[in-house]
């Protein structure tokens, strides 16, 4: 998961996926360009999504014949458990 989060492009993809669930590769590509001014090829985004999916941060399913991607923040809880937020003194 830490490797998956290490690449700025992959963090931007996660940002894009906070907009809404069930986004196609086309929508993610468009949002990266429109909302984040990041221009990546379809192949590059596809590979980043595979890494994120491997880390459990993105889930995908087919809706009809289109593959749609959603953010899954559950693996991030491990970070909060490992380094808990301190109450201000």
């Amino acid at each position: 998961m830490y490797d998956a989060l290490a690449a700025p492009a992959r963090r931007a993809i996660l940002d894009v996926l906070t907009a809404r669930d069930h986004q196609s590769l086309f929508e993610i590509t468009t949002r990266l360009l429109g909302d984040h001014d990041i221009s990546l090829t379809r192949q590059a985004i596809s590979q980043h999504l595979a890494v994120l999916e491997e880390a459990g941060l993105v889930s995908s399913r087919r809706e009809g014949r289109t593959r749609l991607h959603s953010l899954d923040t559950r693996p991030l809880r491990a970070i909060a458990r490992r380094w808990p937020d301190k109450e201000p003194e």
Binding site: G64, T66, L68
Partner: protein
Amino acid sequence: MIRIHLASVFVTDQTKALDFYTRVLGLEPRQDIDMGDGNRWLTVGNPGDPSMELLLEPAGHPAVAPFREALVEDGIPAAQLAVDDLEAEHERLVGLGATFVQPPTDFGPVVVAVIDDTVGNLIQLAQMKG
């Protein structure tokens, strides 16, 4: 001057396609000519504007299916149609049972949505602002 006169989308079923592009989307039927083997030269156009036609072309060629499946898998539209009020069209089309792969999404100068044309393609609807 060269200008765009005809563009095409491959459709899996021409009768179903004509219904979707006219009754659901609201385009105008134009030419419907029997080409033999169950294929038709079938076009639709913008209401009240004879300048351009969209050909609803039979998808029988073996290269069409894999090409289109790959585009649809990644959510890539085959064509873009313009609308005046995307929110209103979204509501109207959902009421008619149409499936949106992407609901109206604001991208600054343009609001876009992606709809399934029921005959194998994704079509982008775009409202240009200002």
